[in-house]
């Protein structure tokens, strides 16, 4: 009898501390390990400044839309309309420039404003009509797809896209940093300050953490939730615009697939630093993991089927590292 103790864990405090590091930095460790592995596997092509710039450049659009989505999920709602919305915005901005001959900045402002309006509509349906956000944003997304069709009859707007519009995303900034990266850094930086350092950000976090408590504390929960949708909508608009510029055309469903990428980035990110909370920095890390994973596997030239398998495994392992670390450290 004396040998049956209920204590089953004999982890030393040192081991627990080490696990704690994994818990906090698991996804980041995963990202670094992945970069290291690809660097060893493709030493010539992968670990170069130009490749990293390239990856960041490619990932910028996904990061912007995922940054916006982060706000929506932080206030506790899902926004499934973003991919469809970004597609519409891409068509619209090209249409405004090509068909309606609007000046490029004006076209961009109009489209971003429309993004905000879509966010408002989502917010209204969710907060005032009390429709579950999955249905609300799926419904709005479907309607948006219809609008995109109505506007373009499904035919991409290709000819007559001015070079200046293409330069929006193809151009480079000081030190040769691609514009996309600069825009992404500004957007995510702005969102980070908003969420982490301002009074509105506190309210956003409170609403997401416990909407009932936030309401009792006098926070206008509906307004904050709507704000989350609005920002999500504006970021989707920006991504749609940059995508149209990158593709050189406005195409229906061009951006639909961002939905899944953005969700993967946001949820991957929620395992970073904080336990299961959504935040901008985490989303950034999540998007980097996805982008470097895709790039590294491409460069390494893995066969298609194993690319899928590795991509899936990367998602799970990156989060698993954190989560297991957390479970073991806390148990």
């Amino acid at each position: 009898m004396s040998d049956i103790t209920i204590g089953s864990r004999h982890l030393s405090p040192g081991a627990k501390a080490a696990l704690g590091v994994f818990a906090r930095y698991g996804t980041i460790i995963g990202l670094l390990a992945m970069i290291l592995a690809f660097s060893l596997l493709s030493p010539r092509a992968f670990p170069t400044v130009s490749n990293f710039t390239n990856v960041l450049n490619q990932a910028s659009l996904a990061m912007i839309i995922a940054g916006g989505l982060t706000l929506a999920v932080t206030v506790g709602e899902l926004d499934l309309s973003i991919g469809f919305a970004a597609s519409l915005h891409g068509i619209l901005v090209t249409g405004l420039i090509v068909h309606d001959k609007l000046p490029i900045p004006l076209a961009i402002v109009i489209v971003v404003a429309l993004g905000a309006v879509i966010g408002l509509i989502n917010g209204f349906i969710v907060t005032k009509m009390r429709v579950n956000s999955v249905i609300a944003t799926l419904g709005v997304g479907t309607i948006i797809t219809g609008c995109a069709f109505a506007y373009s009859a499904g035919v991409p707007i290709v000819s007559g896209v001015p070079e200046a519009f293409l330069q929006l995303s193809l151009g480079r900034w000081l030190f040769g940093i691609p514009n996309n990266i600069v825009i992404m850094a500004l957007v995510l930086g702005g969102l980070w300050v908003l969420v982490e350092r301002t009074d509105i950000g506190q309210q956003i976090q409170a609403v997401g953490g416990n909407a009932a408590a936030a309401r009792l504390a006098g926070i206008n929960v509906d307004r904050i939730k709507t704000l989350g949708f609005v920002i999500s909508g504006m970021c989707a608009a920006l991504t749609g615009i940059l995508l149209a510029s990158r593709l050189g055309s406005g195409t229906t469903s061009a951006a639909d697939s961002y939905l899944l990428t953005a969700f993967a980035a946001v949820f991957l990110g929620s395992a970073t630093l904080r336990d299961g909370e959504f935040h901008i920095l985490g989303t950034l890390v999540g998007a980097l993991i996805i982008a470097f994973g895709f790039n590294g596997l491409n460069i390494f030239g893995a066969p298609t089927f194993s690319q899928y398998i590795f991509q899936g495994a990367i998602l799970i392992v990156a989060v698993g590292l954190s989560s297991l670390g957390r479970v073991l450290a806390e148990s």
């Binding site: 092509a45 170069t48 130009s50 490749n51 390239n54 450049n57 490619q58 659009l61 996904a62 069709f149 009859a153 499904g154 035919v155 991409p156 290709v158 293409l166 995303s169 193809l170 995508l243 990158r246 593709l247 050189g248 055309s249 195409t251 229906t252 469903s253 061009a254 951006a255 639909d256 697939s257 961002y258 895709f294 790039n295 491409n298 460069i299 030239g301 066969p303 298609t304 690319q307 899928y308």
Partner: protein
């Protein structure tokens, strides 16, 4: 390690025709000592651009864009051009800095359209399953619209399918259309801008036990051929993707050697109309078309 690298960027490496094109490309690559690397962009133009950029980054010998129209790979073309790497398209058309193309699927629908309109005998109803986002599909739709101008008595219903979801959409659109077009109300036909939506529609026809509707597809994928053989489909135009992939890769060296003096051109492989009458002969000639 130092074999010339040919990068294939596929809209959907899991789609049958894409897979056959890839096989053709691989065959040619094997013969020429190229390394063929395939990236599946999973329908996302953005990922296709990224993949083209990645191949440019790698200093590929050439890059093949599969099905994404040249107009939606602006950033990729830019990067390849900067690196001096030729980009060719399959079904993506000729434009921008694209060096060559084949598989321009638009014209191959013409014999299918002609056969269908002949069978319609100037009257009846057609369900068109379209996919306008795809350039090839759009061109085929335009071809059909042109041909239909001469037949005002044919009622046309157009429905746009989605990717993914084309089977289900094809079936559901067919269901609804069939409900308002009962058997015995004139000549009925379902036309898909490629085979898969039509195959979805066949599922619906069969589960309703309707055999009064003629079904047409384009591309001639294995499943369509099988359906023709079994009498569920009327006709398709078989695209020889394998040969297209094979020929294209064979031509890459020529393009690189010519350098700046290369004139962009289309190098089409003609499609073959396959009907219930010709399917047996066709299959004995191209046994691997169905496998």
């Amino acid at each position: 390690e130092d074999k010339p690298l040919v990068g294939l960027v596929s809209i959907s490496a899991t789609e049958a025709n894409n897979a056959r094109y890839i096989e053709g490309a691989k065959k040619a690559g094997e013969e020429l000592g190229y390394e063929i690397s395939v990236i599946d962009a999973a329908g996302s133009a953005d990922q296709a651009n990224a993949a083209i950029q990645n191949f440019a980054q790698l200093g590929a010998f050439a890059i093949v864009d599969m099905v994404f129209p040249w107009s939606s790979i602006g950033a990729g073309l830019d990067a390849a051009k900067a690196a001096g790497i030729p980009v060719v398209t399959w079904g993506g058309g000729l434009g921008g800095s694209v060096a060559a193309t084949n598989g321009s699927g638009g014209p191959m629908v013409v014999p299918v359209n002609e056969l269908m309109l002949k069978n319609m005998d100037g009257k009846g109803a057609i369900l068109e399953l379209t996919y306008r986002t795809g350039e090839v599909c759009r061109n085929r739709e335009v071809e059909l619209d042109k041909a239909l101008e001469a037949y005002p008595d044919i009622e046309v219903t157009k429905n746009e399918v989605r990717i993914p979801g084309y089977f289900e959409d094809g079936a559901q659109y067919a269901n609804a259309w069939l409900a308002s077009h009962p058997a015995g109300e004139g000549n009925l036909a379902i036309w898909g801008c490629w085979d898969d939506p039509s195959i979805g529609a066949i599922g619906s026809l069969r589960s309703q036990g309707r055999d009064d509707v003629l079904v047409y597809g384009v591309n001639g994928n294995a499943q369509a051929l099988e359906n023709i053989k079994n009498g569920h489909m009327t006709a398709t135009a078989w695209q020889d993707s394998f040969t297209e992939g094979y020929n294209m890769v064979k031509m890459l060296k020529e393009i690189r050697d010519a350098g700046d003096s290369w004139e962009p051109k289309a190098v089409e492989v003609p499609a073959v109309l396959v009907t219930q009458d010709t399917v047996e002969a066709f299959l004995s000639e191209h046994p691997d078309a169905i496998n």
